[in-house]
Assembly symmetry: C2
Homo-oligomer: 322 residues x 2
C-alpha cells in the first residue's frame, strides 16, 4: 500500500488478452501488486448487451487476469466456469452465441444493476475489482457509451457480432466508434495519462483495442502531451498476431503487417517500440521513423513470462524495477 | 389443442406452492395438459428485485410446477439447480439471502430484459411458459407493479424481507398491497374469471396469495359476479397450514385458525368449500354460513394426489371430468 518512490507510476492503455497479460506482468513487477503504481485504462468499445446485461469483455479480461482468476486456456472468462444459466437461457428461446459462464454472469448482473442505479461504470469497476482482490487501479476509458462498429463487405455490424458471432471472418473495411465523439474520459483517466512516469501501450489490437481508447476526446492529446516515457509493445510478431484478427485488419486497412506497420501507427504517440526477437531485423527501419527500439522476447505465456516482459518494458524506458 | 366441450373451462386463482400443485392437478385432469381449459391467475405481490432482476416467485413456482420442472422437495425453484452465480455474487459483495439458482436466474434475466424493453409481464410469462412446455394459460393478475408489504411489530417490511430473510417469524399485524389501487388486471384476467365454468380458489395463503389477487381493481367484483361455479380449497387442515405462515397470520389478524375461519373469509366469493377429511366436523358449521361443503383428502403430494384433488374439486361443483 505504501508508495514506493523507487518504482515508477505506470499507466497502461489496454484492450483484452494482450493488455490483460501485460497488466498482470506489470502488477507482478511493481510493488504490492501495482497498488499505487499501476493504472490500466481499458477499452470499452467491445462492450455489448446480452440478455439485457451489460458485458464489458475487455475490462473483465483485465480484471479477471489481474485477480488471477481468468481462464488461461481460453484467455477470457473465469476459471472453472459452468454454463447452467446460459443453457437455460437457450431453453427459454434466447440466442446464446455469446458465451457467458455462471460466475462471469455475476459480474454482469452487478454491473448492470449498478449502472441502472446511476453508478458510473468506473465506480462499479473499482468495486468489482476490489472484491476480486485486484490491487492495481482499473479504469474504463470512459463511463459513457462507446461502441465499436465494424464495416464489413456485408455492411456495418456491432463489434461482438463481427468478433464472436461471425468469428472475425469478415474483412474489416473500416471501423467506427459510436459515441466516442461525445464521450468524456472517466474520472482519473487524463490524470493517469498525464501524471505517469511510464505510459505503456499494450500489445493489443491497434484498431480494435487501442484506437477506441485514443478516440475518447482528450485521451490522444494527453498521450501526445504526456511527459511520461511512452512505450508500445508490438502485437505483431513475425508478421502474425499473437491472438485475434490484428494481422488481417492491418492488411485490409492498407498497413504493413509487421511490427514496423504497428510502429508507423504509433509514431508521435510513443517514444519506444518493444518488438519481439523474431523481429530484430525491423529495429533499424523502426528507428528510421524516429522511435527507439528494444528487442526482447515478447511472448507472454505464464505469469513469469508476463513479468519478464513487463520488466523489459520498464527498463526500455529507463525505469527498471528491482 | 382441440377444445373439448365435455371439459369445463377452469380458472384458478393461485399463489405459490398450494396454487402450483392444484394447477398441476388440474392440468393433469383436464384435456391436453389444460390447454384451452385451464387459466391460472397468479399473485404477483411476492415479486421482488434481487441484484437488479425482477423475481416473480409465485408465477415461477406455478410455471415450473406445470412444466414438471420444479424442485419437489423444496416446493420452489428448479430441479437439479446449481448456485455458481449466487456464490460469485456473494464474492462480489452482494447480499445473497434470497436464494437464486443458476437455471432459475435465466428466467429472471429474460423477464427483466423483456420488461425493460417494454414487454408486459403477462406477455413474457406466456413466452417463458411456452418455452418450458406449459400447456395451460398462466397469467399474472396484473402487469402493473403490486407489492405486498407486511406490518410487523418492528415496522413495515417488504414481503420477501418478511418471508425469506426473516423466515416469516414476525407476527403479521397487517398487510398492504402497494400499487394495488392503481393496478389494472392483466389482459385476459377478467375474461378468464367471467367466462369460466369453474372458478377455483387454490389452497394458497388467503392473505398473502389470494387477497393481493382480489385487490386488483375489478377482480373481486368479477369473482362475485361470475356465473361460474366457484369453489375454494382450504389451505388449513386440522388447524394447521400445509406450508407457510397461513395459520399464524389467521391468528394474529383475529380469525379462527381452521377451515371454518377460511370459509368465513371466502363467504360471498365462492359457493363451495373443499375441506380435508381431517376437518369433516367443520362441514356443518361451514354450511351454516351458506356454503356447500365437500370433504375429501386435500393433501397434494405426488402428481397423482394433485390430480385426485383436482378431480374432486371439479366434481364438487358439478363438472366431473372423465
Amino acid at each position: 500500500m505504501t508508495f514506493s518512490p523507487a518504482a515508477p507510476r505506470v499507466t497502461l492503455l489496454a484492450g483484452g488478452v494482450g493488455g490483460a497479460r501485460l497488466a498482470h506482468g506489470l502488477a507482478l513487477a511493481l510493488p504490492d501488486g501495482g497498488a499505487e503504481h499501476l493504472t490500466a485504462v481499458v477499452n470499452v468499445g467491445d462492450d455489448t448487451e446480452r440478455h439485457g446485461l451489460l458485458v464489458s469483455p475487455d475490462l473483465d479480461t483485465v480484471m479477471y487476469t489481474l485477480a488471477g482468476a481468468n481462464d488461461e486456456e481460453r484467455g477470457w472468462g473465469l476459471q472453472g466456469e459452468t454454463y447452467a444459466t446460459l443453457e437455460q437461457l437457450a431453453r427459454l428461446g434466447e440466442d446464446t452465441w455469446f458465451t457467458l459462464g455462471d460466475k462471469d454472469l455475476a459480474t454482469h448482473v452487478v454491473r448492470t444493476a449498478a449502472l441502472r442505479d446511476g453508478e458510473p461504470l468506473s465506480a462499479v469497476t473499482t468495486r468489482l475489482a476490489a472484491a476480486l482482490g485486484v490491487r492495481a487501479r482499473l479504469l474504463p476509458v470512459t463511463d459513457d457509451r462507446l461502441r465499436t462498429l465494424v464495416d464489413t463487405p456485408s455492411g456495418r455490424v456491432a463489434f461482438q457480432e463481427y468478433f464472436v458471432r461471425r468469428r472475425h471472418a469478415d474483412a474489416v473495411l473500416g471501423l467506427a466508434f459510436d459515441g466516442a465523439a461525445t464521450s468524456r474520459p472517466a474520472p482519473g483517466v487524463l490524470d493517469a495519462v498525464a501524471g505517469a512516469d511510464v505510459l505503456v501501450v499494450a500489445p493489443s489490437n491497434p484498431f480494435l483495442s487501442v484506437e477506441p481508447v485514443l478516440a475518447v476526446p482528450g485521451v490522444r492529446d494527453a498521450v501526445r502531451a504526456s511527459s511520461a516515457r511512452r512505450v508500445a509493445v508490438s502485437p505483431i510478431v513475425g508478421g502474425q498476431a499473437i491472438k485475434g484478427p490484428a494481422a488481417q485488419i492491418l492488411e485490409t486497412l492498407g498497413h504493413e503487417v509487421s511490427a514496423l506497420g504497428v510502429a508507423r501507427l504509433y509514431a508521435g504517440l510513443v517514444d519506444v517500440m518493444v518488438v519481439d526477437d523474431a523481429d530484430a531485423a525491423l529495429a533499424d527501419p523502426i528507428r528510421e521513423i524516429g522511435l527507439d527500439v528494444v528487442v526482447t522476447d515478447t511472448i507472454m505465456g505464464d505469469p513469469a513470462g508476463r513479468e519478464r516482459l513487463a520488466r523489459a518494458v520498464l527498463a526500455a524506458v529507463g525505469h527498471p524495477v528491482p
